[in-house]
Each structure stands twice: as structure tokens, then as C-alpha cells.
């Protein structure tokens, strides 16, 4: 039952990633075709373009949501692959703790970075 619930979250997280990462890829890697949310004649990774996006609350929120969805989707997918190798019960428990703790730690750090960049961009 727990695994079925986690699998449903895995699929739903995939849907969120499809939308938000699709937007992110469109902005960062299809900029010459789409030109979304980038100042004219500026690469998407230029500091001015980064600041412009960081000032928008939408991007702060979407980065944090994408971060959480991608961490869950990726780490749960990794867990499934590793569990298919039929490790012992102790190894499974250790993997669960390691992946959950690692995921939460990375989420806190990444969410802080997105929030702090937004605050910095609004002060400049």
C-alpha cells in the first residue's frame, strides 16, 4: 500500500516536472527560438537574465516546486532500481534513510538558494 502511494506520487511528480522542467528547458535551451523570459541579446545564463527571472516570484516558487518534485522523482526512481537488485532488509533500510535524508538536505539547500537569490535580486 505504501509503495503504491509512493508510486502514484512518483507519476504525479513526473507530471509536475514535465511542465516546469519543460518551461525551464524552453527558457534555457530554446532561447533563440522562443525567447521566453530573457532580455533581448542576452544569454539565459547571463547575470542580467538571471536577475530578471529571480525578481519574479513565479520563478522562485516554480524553482522550489521543481526542486522538490525532481528530487522525489529522481531519488525514488533510484531507490526502485536499487531495490530491484534484491538487497537485504538492512541495506534497504539504510538506503531509505540515506536517500530520504539526502533528498531533504538537498531540498533545504536548493530552496534556500532560490529564495536568497530572489531576495538579492530585489535589493539590486
Amino acid at each position: 500500500m505504501r509503495d503504491q502511494r509512493l508510486w502514484t506520487w512518483h507519476v504525479l511528480a513526473g507530471l509536475v516536472i514535465l511542465v516546469l522542467l519543460g518551461l525551464h528547458m524552453g527558457i534555457m535551451h530554446l532561447d533563440t527560438l522562443l525567447g521566453w523570459f530573457n532580455p533581448p541579446d542576452m544569454k539565459p545564463v547571463a547575470w542580467g537574465a538571471v536577475l530578471q527571472r529571480a525578481r519574479m516570484g513565479f520563478f522562485t516558487v516554480s524553482y522550489i516546486v521543481l526542486l522538490g518534485a525532481a528530487l522525489f522523482h529522481g531519488l525514488y526512481g533510484l531507490r526502485n532500481i536499487l531495490f530491484e537488485l534484491a538487497p537485504g532488509r538492512g541495506v534497504k533500510s539504510a538506503l531509505n534513510v540515506f536517500l530520504a535524508a539526502g533528498g531533504v538536505g538537498l531540498f533545504v539547500f536548493g530552496a534556500w538558494a532560490a529564495w536568497a537569490a530572489g531576495v538579492l535580486a530585489r535589493t539590486l
Partner: protein, 147 residues
């Protein structure tokens, strides 16, 4: 993921390499896993690299400076390709999980047709979409390389 009921996974990761009688979709399965693992590795590094924007312009420039050059550009394109494939194939997997595009049950009359025959069209369709996204991304990378 369901626990296996005492049946050991004898093939392990070597089982990813051979499609056997499962054919095309089995190779999509393997590629989905490989691209997923690749994207996860990139994503974990990406969190640290892009967090530099929180420390200001100099930190951002230094961080971006560490990931520039031909090798990183090629790697970035591979990441984009992995995204295009993984996203398109993920949509296929979600649709199949929801029972969409798998066909209706039919009488087992020779020559036998299975659900895979119905799913094949969806598999080809999503790969065409992935190819178009990849071509658009390739054009974008080319424009940046030449300007």
C-alpha cells in the same frame, strides 16, 4: 514498487542490456533508466552550481566559469537529449499506466495480436516528438556556438 515474492532478480542490471523477445519497448525501458540516472547525476550537481546565484554576481561568474568549454557544452547537449527522451517516454509510460493507447481486449485468433502492437504506434509517436524537441535544441546549441 512491489516486493518480489521470493523470486531473486537473477539478471540484475545485465538484464537491462538485452531486449530479448520484448523488442523495441524493452530498449526504451533501458534507455529510460539510463537517461534517468544521467539526469539525476546532473541535477544533483546542478543544485550546487546554480546555488552560486544566491551569493552575487562574482560567485555566479566564477561558478559559470567552471562549467564552460567544449566538453561542458557537449555534456549539456547530452543532458538536453536525455531530457527530451525521458520526458517523451515518460508521457508514454504514464498514458499506458492509465490504460490509454493499449487497445481493447480481443479474441485470441491467429495471427495473434497483443497489446504491444497497439502500444507500438504510441512509442513511435513519442519518439518522433522527442526527435523534434532534440532537433530544436540542437539548432539552439548550434546558434550559440556560432555566435
Amino acid at each position: 514498487m512491489l516486493d518480489n515474492k521470493g523470486h531473486p532478480n537473477r539478471l540484475g542490471i545485465w538484464g537491462w542490456l538485452g531486449g530479448g523477445r520484448w523488442g523495441f519497448e524493452r530498449y526504451l525501458y533501458t534507455l529510460h533508466r539510463l537517461t534517468g540516472l544521467g539526469l539525476l547525476c546532473y541535477f544533483l550537481l546542478h543544485i550546487f552550481v546554480t546555488s552560486a546565484r544566491a551569493y552575487g554576481q562574482d560567485a555566479w561568474a566564477a561558478s559559470m566559469g567552471r562549467v564552460t568549454g567544449g566538453l561542458f557544452t557537449a555534456g549539456e547537449f547530452l543532458v538536453f537529449a536525455a531530457f527530451a527522451f525521458h520526458a517523451a517516454n515518460g508521457v508514454r509510460l504514464a498514458l499506458i499506466e492509465l490504460g490509454i493507447a493499449i487497445g481493447k481486449p480481443i479474441e485470441p485468433v491467429y495471427p495473434y495480436r497483443t497489446s504491444v502492437h497497439e502500444q507500438r504506434r504510441l512509442a513511435i509517436g513519442v519518439m518522433v516528438v522527442a526527435g523534434l524537441v532534440l532537433a530544436a535544441g540542437g539548432y539552439n546549441f548550434f546558434v550559440h556556438l556560432t555566435h
